[in-house]
Amino acid sequence: MTGIIDYDAGNIRSVENALKRLGAGYVISSDSQVLSSCDRLILPGVGDAAWAMARLRANGLADFIRNTDRPLLGICLGMQLLCSWSEEGDVECLGIFPNRVRHFSSVLPGNMPLKIPHVGWNDITSLKTGLFDGVAEGSYVYFVHSYCADIGEDTASVTGYGVPFSSSLCRDNFMGCQFHPEKSGDVGERILSNFIRLRR
């Protein structure tokens, strides 16, 4: 059973639909008791980092996530929340990954006329971790974001948009992807099906 962490930060639906397509059982909950009985967890998220962190702290989910020993996958904002800090609202995040999250405009070299947000299909390289079993180097996945995590020792894939950034991260039982596997066609389906095979 996969637990989808519900903290009112939207777009649970697309993750839910992806799990349905894979025929995977899931439960949506904000209750840490319920979530701790799951084999693995997904932290989705669309919206503002500071607001989302406030939500996670208010209902005790921040501590629950930090202490869980279940495989946990953060998606998009969910991945950014697992980092140490986000420029979006200048907020301290969960600190699982030491990486810092900055707005593209803060990290792009001066006068590089790139459109923000970074929207569309981009490639992932330097793939690490079992999440990418059967996924080829340079595969394309779907992104929609304005903030990005820097490169560090937990970087599990790299994508370039003006600058290289961490398109996924991994440390122990924690994983995160900046892109949307649930909207990334066959490649995304492969990544999610790799994840739903993981157990504690």
Binding site: R13, V119, G120, W121, N122, K183, S184
Partner: protein, 253 residues
Amino acid sequence: MLAKRIIPCLDIRDGQTVKGVNFLSLKTVGDPVELARSYSGQGADELVFLDISATIEGRKAFSGLVERIALNIDIPFTVGGGISTVEDASVLLRAGADKVSVNSAAVRNPELISEIASRFGSQCVVVAIDARNVGGTWRVTTHGGTRFSDRELFSWAEHAERLGAGEILFTSMDHDGTCGGYACEVYRKLSGQLGIPVIASGGAGNAGHIIDVLSPEGGCADAALAASIFHYGEVLIPDLKRQLADRGIPVRL
């Protein structure tokens, strides 16, 4: 490298596909979900569904269809057609659409753009603009190109971006349906002027036209949308993408 996107567009009436599709051996040619799945399998990067229903029942069928698409399709999709209030957009986004496109209603009431953007985020607001060249001025039209508004294309596109549009989908009504190529010089100007992606629509007759509008020497557009050339099999998406890649234009293969 960020890929240029290829976007087939499907017209929907009462929950069924309207335009004929004569290259796919589908059980139900009218079923948009089956068509969408086929396009997704061929490598379409995104899909657009335009509701052209004239009745309330038809519009209800459309939101039901959006739920089925969201459940079955694993690439992003945009829905549009007759969205005139935040509530209209909300119903479709909650049903699982990734983006909504607004057109005539935004010309009449530009605040609609900022209202949808502030509630659901700019990334899900596509502002569709139809315009005609009248004596050198690109005048914005509404109601499928049948009525002129008092707006001009470039200033309206910039205004829409300021209000929170996430993308601009521009259709040249002079080129639409001609199969003679896109209005490349207009896309080039829009793309240089705006900080958000530009989707080209109207005029595609062959793969060369799509190469022209996406290439850095041509239209510089971020994505190309087309309907009939895909529906009638005149251009097959895998062939098109290979040709784009051969020209050095980044695409998802």
